[in-house]
């Protein structure tokens, strides 16, 4: 098991390096002057007359490998003797849409998104797996039919349609929940430094740390509609996969053998069938991260939540090159890490993986 984990961990930086190399190749293909704007903005964005000098100063007219190395680890300029940090020092350039460094923008927006994902992923995983198992166990009965119908419906509804409908029905029709992250009353609190200290930029967590239950409930309430929007489609996929995987497993000989031995049904399902059905479920669960990310862009836009999804949408439509590349690197790293988690979970649930 240990050697398996070590092998997997050793592969991670290699994959990450290759992916970042691909991202850099996109950046490298830009004209040098565009790179100056994309990466050297900030408090003192360059004047037109300074462009050529900055291209020389930052070696943006050099070859691929030189630029890649300096982009990655930074460099000390031979012209002014200053050290200019690279990707590994957290320098992702200047985001014109966020009006701040990309790293700072990601630092601001990721917690907002992370809060939404935390609240969404639990219903997806728990609800999806639970209902998938129940549907398989009660195949062709009412629950199975209802689950199938709901999951097909959910999978057919575009995220933006669902989000808008929920917003119009609940907020527009009944005045329930709301847009954004907080109500005005709570905003008045969190915008007042005398009343609020921001620890994580996740309002629900910060509210607990600040001991303010009103803001906590308010933050959670504002997460409900986005959470449903984000969860629904992904939940449907997981239900379908879990159900079919369980159905296959329940037909295996060892399950019949367990039943024949007189084991209680819950032990047969929980101990024998469920664990063996988990492999494809884990695969899909990690793929859901991608689904969540694409859904986030739309969900955050519809509900006006200033998270990383909305940031990416603004960066992409505003041709904010540094912002788009920064988001791409963020997603790249996220994918690598989720795949690592999936690999480790395979090993945990299936001995053949870790032994093979």
């Amino acid at each position: 098991m240990l050697s398996y984990i070590i092998r997997r961990l050793l592969v991670v930086p290699v994959i990450a390096f290759i992916l970042i190399l691909i991202v850099f190749a996109l950046f490298y293909s830009l004209p040098p002057a565009v790179k100056v704007y994309a990466f050297l903005g900030g408090d003192k964005p360059p004047r037109i007359s300074e462009i050529n000098g900055l291209i020389k100063l930052h070696h943006l007219d050099q070859g691929f490998l030189t630029q890649f190395k300096e982009w990655l680890v930074g460099f000390t300029s031979d012209q002014d003797g200053k050290f200019y940090p690279g990707l590994l020092q957290g320098n992702l350039g200047w985001s014109v849409t966020a009006k701040m460094p990309v790293s700072q923008a990601l630092g601001s927006f990721i917690p907002v998104t992370f809060e939404l994902v935390i609240f969404s992923i639990l219903p997806i995983l728990i609800g999806g797996v639970y209902l998938g198992v129940r549907a398989a166990v009660q195949q062709n009965r009412i629950l199975d039919q209802l689950t199938r119908m709901m999951s097909i419906t959910a999978y057919s509804v575009p995220v933006f349609v669902l989000g808008l409908v929920l917003l119009l029905v609940f907020y527009g029709g009944f005045g329930l929940f709301g847009t954004g992250r907080l109500s005005n009353a709570s905003n008045n609190i969190v915008q007042n430094p005398a009343l609020w200290h921001s620890y994580t930029n996740m309002y629900s967590i910060d509210a607990l740390l600040n001991g303010n239950w009103d803001v906590f409930w308010d933050a959670v309430l504002h997460l409900i509609l986005p959470m449903i929007t984000l969860s629904f489609v992904n939940w449907a996929l997981l239900v379908r996969i879990t159900r079919s995987s369980m159905l296959n497993t329940l037909k295996e000989d060892y399950v019949n053998t367990a039943r024949a031995k007189g084991l209680k049904e819950k032990f047969v399902i929980n101990k024998h069938a469920f664990r063996n059905a988990l492999i494809p479920v884990i695969t899909i669960s990690t793929l859901l991260i991608g689904g969540l990310l694409s859904g986030l862009v739309i969900t955050e836009t519809v509900f006006g939540i200033r998270g990383v999804g909305l940031y990416f949408q603004k960066a992409a439509t505003g041709l904010d090159i540094a912002g788009v590349l920064g988001f791409t690197i963020f997603v790249t790293i996220l994918w690598v890490l989720t795949n690592l988690v999936a690999d480790l979970m395979y090993a945990f649930v299936d001995p053949r993986v870790r032994l093979g």
Partner: protein, 700 residues
């Protein structure tokens, strides 16, 4: 199976409880918003660029800063009359109109507790002149106060001799002086609207101490050499974040800055307890004022419906029917405005390194456009012929706008109602698109003829047009332009080529403003609200060499404009660009009304003859607010006209709300200087009518 059954019951019970709790909580959260009469919330699609008076020059920034900074004077209610604010009385003005003497009100406190002095007033006005940033408000003041159109020449070199006027060296009269408790402004040339310009947010009075402590301009030191060095250092800062008050409060206004949350784009102001006109929260107005950026139209409208906001930008007039049916809203769609809306060309697109992502290859090779693409009159005319002004007015403004030939607007002095637009076939306002003429112009561009088309037609082009996010009106204009270009592109009879392509992008407002000054945008949307109600403000802005209008997108580039002796120019104006400035200065300073009329009529003709931009419309101003909002005042002359200052009793502004709404029409305003009202019934009261709200046509 009992295990599953019991679990199911537990899950169902838990879910039901959660649902009940959520519904109860959600409802109470919404109700809490609606009943909070101490907080005013304004949802807008824009976001302020800066809160520093010397930098800000857009309505979004102004709307916030108006509540933080008081100026010497301000408008009384909805009228054009000015009342003293920081000044204790209206100024005494010399017979030659060159000297304005203000006595300064005593007892005014800054938000940091310091007392406002005449020296702070002097410093604030001088700092504005010293800063004079590209794309800023400097051009309004430079002519009258410094006798120049800008503090830098066309190459961007600072005219350091101006320090003699700013600080009073070499026998020159210092432009702003302090005499005991008075502040005296000495004009170089007479300027009729001078007093009005001192009502703008840009002239808001700042605390010298706060600015200097933040590392800002130290003021005149008495050492000319040092002052020249400081002038050089603080003139034309490269970015709004470089000015000291970008997100710092140095004001004395009714509200102080509590927080500008840039990540969530929420700006919160708190009532200033020691405000000289009293604490707003204890005098009938709000304790908290919140400006929120909400770019999605539906979200803004739903927030209005649910009481989460009190005032919204409708985004586009096309949303008005939807808003009419929104419970709890009050919509005034036909208020006259002096706003002009245009699509701007950049005459010298900045292509650092030879290209930029918006202008493609930077060449006329089918993959981009060259830097001087819009210097060609045929190109500008072609794009004018591609734009269907009538359709744009219908689609974006549901007809609640007037077609104009130039950005000079109806209702202002010296507006020439007989001036026809570039593509007016018979008369204004019937400016439809004419694809045949557009094609002919494109063929003739860059040395071509209709028989032997030039490269713009044979090679085609690609570029990107930009507008500010959330502004649906502007999106509609550009999409209409794009559609007609595509239609032309698709017509085989004009010959096949690389394609005529324009894509459309949106960027946050503050970014758009920065990119306009950078000069990297090929085409972008523009609008203008009045700094003062005079023709000078408009034509100077669009045609002056230091203005931010289209031809000068990126004022560093003035000298690169090759031919200001445009074909068709009259003999008087058949000179390089600085004669346009001279003409503008003549119009600004002349007391003779017939001379001014000649000047401004000529400028309007020149504007059309040279197809300087694509004029879109003079729209009416739709004001959309919750019905419980009380005592809303509208003033066309106020450049932050969307909402204006929330609390300023001296200028008859005490915005408030009542919990249930009083069902009365509480809109005040008399709309000074507006001779023609565009469309529909317009409230014309000089004070709040207090009449019951009558149904708005279409609000059924």
């Amino acid at each position: 199976m009992w295990w599953f059954r019991s679990k199911s019951k537990i899950v169902i019970v838990l879910l039901a409880l959660t649902f009940v709790w959520a519904m109860a909580g959600a409802g109470s959260a919404a109700a809490k918003d609606q009943t909070d009469v101490t907080t005013f919330v304004y949802d807008t699609f824009g976001e302020q660029q800066s809160l520093d008076p010397v930098w800000l020059f857009d309505t979004s920034s102004s709307a916030v800063a108006q509540n933080m900074y008081d100026a010497l004077v301000f408008y009384k209610g909805g009228t054009g009359d000015l009342v003293p604010i920081v000044a204790s009385a209206l100024p005494t003005i010399s017979a030659d109109n060159l000297t304005f003497t203000f006595s300064i009100r005593s007892g005014i406190k800054f938000h940091n507790g310091d007392t406002l002095t005449p020296a702070d007033v002097q410093y604030s006005l001088l700092r504005l002149l010293v800063t004079d940033r590209d794309g800023g408000s400097g051009f309004i003041f430079n002519g009258a106060l410094l006798g120049v159109s800008g503090t830098r020449d066309s190459s961007g070199k600072l005219n350091t001799d101006l320090i003699d006027i700013v600080c009073g060296y070499n026998g020159k009269q210092q432009v702003v002086t302090v005499d005991s408790n008075n502040v005296v402004i000495h004009l170089v040339t007479a300027f009729g609207p001078m007093l009005q310009t001192l009502a703008t947010t840009e002239t808001g009075i700042v605390s010298k101490k706060v600015v200097v402590d933040k590392g800002g301009w130290p003021g005149c030191t008495g050492d000319r050499t040092a002052d020249v060095a400081n002038f050089t250092k603080y003139n034309n800062p490269p970015n709004q974040a470089n000015t000291e008050l970008f997100d710092v409060d140095a004001g004395s206004g009714p509200y102080s800055l509590q927080n500008w949350d840039k990540a969530n784009r929420i700006t919160t102001l708190k009532a200033f307890a020691d405000y000289w006109q009293g604490d707003a929260s204890k005098n009938g107005s709000f304790s908290t004022v919140v400006y929120k950026t909400v770019e999605d139209d539906t979200a803004r409208i739903l927030e209005l419906q649910n009481g989460a906001t009190d005032f919204i930008d409708p985004g586009t007039n096309a949303n008005l029917p939807k808003i009419y049916s929104t419970a709890g809203s009050r919509t005034l769609p036909t208020l006259p405005s002096l706003v002009s809306q245009v699509i701007c060309f950049n005459f010298d697109i900045q292509l650092p390194g030879g290209s930029n992502v918006l202008a493609g290859s930077g060449k006329l090779d089918g993959n981009g456009i060259p830097h001087d693409f819009f210097q060609d009159l045929h190109i500008r005319k072609a794009f004018n012929f591609l734009f269907d002004q009538s359709l744009a007015i219908q689609r974006a403004y549901v007809g609640l706008a007037q077609a104009t030939a130039t950005p000079h607007v109806a209702g202002l002095n010296f507006y020439n109602a007989d001036q026809v637009g570039v593509n007016a076939s018979a008369s204004i306002p019937n400016n439809g698109a004419d694809l045949n003429k557009a094609a002919d112009e494109l063929k003739q561009a860059f040395g071509g003829t209709i028989a032997a088309p030039g490269p713009a037609w044979t090679s085609g082009f690609v570029f990107t047009a930009s507008y500010n996010s959330g502004n649906k009106n502007r999106q509609i204009w550009l999409n209409l332009l794009q559609a007609n270009l595509q239609a032309l592109n698709d017509q085989g009879k004009y010959g096949r080529h690389g394609g005529l392509n324009m894509s459309v992008r949106n960027v946050p407002f503050a970014q758009l403003l920065n990119e306009i000054v950078d000069g990297t945008l090929p085409i972008h949307t523009c609008g203008w609200a009045p700094d003062y109600t005079d023709a000078a403000d408009y034509l100077l802005q669009w045609m002056g060499s230091r203005a931010v209008g289209s031809a000068y997108s990126g004022t560093d580039n003035i000298d690169k404009l090759p031919a200001w002796s445009f074909p068709g120019a009259t003999e008087t104006l058949h000179k390089p660009y600085n004669n346009w400035d001279e003409l503008l200065m003549l119009g600004q300073s002349s007391a003779a009304q017939d001379v001014r009329q000649d000047v401004y009529y000529t400028l309007q003709k020149l504007y059309v003859d040279n197809a300087l931009e694509i004029t879109v419309a003079q729209p009416t101003q739709p004001e959309v607010m919750a019905h419980w909002l009380n005592n809303f005042t509208y003033n066309v002359a106020d450049n932050g006209s969307t909402i204006g200052p929330v609390f300023n009793p001296a200028s008859e502004r005490i915005l408030s709300k009542v919990a249930e709404g009083d069902g009365k029409d509480n809109v005040c305003g008399s709309f000074p200087g507006v001779a023609s009202v565009v469309g529909g019934a317009t409230p014309a009261a000089t004070s709040c009518t207090g009449a019951a709200i009558s149904p708005i046509p279409g609000n059924q």
